[in-house]
Amino acid sequence: MEKITDTIESIYEILGRVTDPEVPVLTILDLGIVRNVAFKGDELIVTITSTYTGCPAMDMIAANIRMELAAAGYKNVRIEQSIRPAWTTDWMSEAGKEKLKEYGIAPPDKRFTIPEDGVGCPRCGSNNTRLVSEFGSTACKALYQCRDCQEPFDFFKCH
């Protein structure tokens, strides 16, 4: 039987279990890519937006949303993509930024909208770091190295 009486809040709770396959510490709510949740008749519509246009994780995220909702009893789900307004790291939650740091990725930092030397090292906290490349292991990250602890690390770019 389709569940159609639940609240929007409970849907968000379920969506909070879906993580980014590339950065598994972040949920899609932390990332800020869920733009809307609505019931239309007996259909549940989830609107998401992509981080970068070519992000290969989007299809997998959509599939994982379906699976998580299906496990909770929601079978009639439509996933819509919105383009505008364009996704920005301003939509990332504070909790998400903390989780990134613990995971070893420097979170978006407004002082570095254009990546340059000095982003705080997520391991030792030093700002004596250098930009290795503006393009990292995924579209959303830049590659850095800490000059103090020598560790290479990713910086989640302000976008």
């Binding site: 992000c55 364009a86 254009i114 393009f135 292991s137 579209a139």
Partner: protein, 244 residues
């Protein structure tokens, strides 16, 4: 004003073909970090192409999909400019082309962001954020190579000499552009100003009075497009509807 289907395809084809060209560097970049950078740019361009093809497929209707448009059209139906289909050449050629093309895209998408066609405006606004990275990265390479060693300088000068003839087509208006309310001739002065700044830092000069080749927007391509399509479309042509 609603943009025409041909115009959206032109934007999509430019992005797809350059994305495919840049992808040829994957695993072959001069150093790992730059291999990753060019592959990332490639991915962004293919993402752009998808956004435009999805829109074009909706405009076309009759169940057309983005894949039909990318994989099942022939050479003469592609509307990309000649610049993007040229072989990747050496690192100087690839980065210089990226700089010239991304600088053009940056100006164009800034303009399209306020286009009356909301979907076109939305895609432009989104992709512009990525194009800004491409411009920055490629301009740094042009400067590094031009103002670098004797060898790097000779490479960038030779790339410039062979590429320049393909730059004029960006600013030659085609009927689908005019019909969509896009005046590409207006972009030329700003583009020249933009590239001059980086060229000055690189200590190189833009050639003058060069014969400008064109035809891509009309579907008349150089011999290189056929080969790239053969490689890119092979799987879908041989195994229609194949997915993984």
């Amino acid at each position: 004003m609603k943009a025409t289907l041909d115009y959206i395809l032109h934007l999509a084809d430019n992005a797809l073909i350059l994305g495919q060209r840049n992808a040829e560097w994957c695993g072959h970049g001069p150093v790992l970090e730059q291999d990753i950078a060019i592959s990332n740019i490639s991915l962004d361009l293919i993402g752009q192409a998808r956004s435009f093809y999805q829109y074009a497929a909706e405009l076309k209707g009759n169940g057309t999909t983005e894949d039909d448009l990318a994989y099942l059209r022939d050479e003469r139906q592609f509307r990309n400019i000649l610049l993007v289909e040229q072989p990747k050449g050496d690192w100087a050629f690839t980065t210089l082309r990226q700089f010239l093309f991304s600088s053009y895209q940056q100006l164009l998408f800034q303009k399209l962001t306020t286009h009356d066609d909301e979907r076109l405006a939305a895609i432009s606004e989104k992709t512009l954020k990525e194009v800004n990275y491409h411009v920055r990265w490629s301009s740094e390479w042009v400067i590094r190579l031009g103002d670098g060693t004797e060898e790097s300088r000779s490479r960038i000068l030779s790339a410039l000499a062979s590429i320049w003839t393909y730059t004029g087509e960006m600013f030659m208006p085609e009927s689908f552009e005019t019909a969509s309310g896009i005046v590409v001739t207006d972009l030329e002065t700003a583009w020249k100003e933009k590239i001059k700044t980086s060229f000055a830092e690189a200590n190189i000069d833009a050639p003058e009075n060069t014969f400008m080749r064109s035809g891509g927007k009309k579907g008349i391509h150089s011999e290189h497009l056929g080969f790239i399509l053969a490689e890119m479309q092979y799987l879908q042509r041989s195994y229609p509807g194949c997915e993984w």
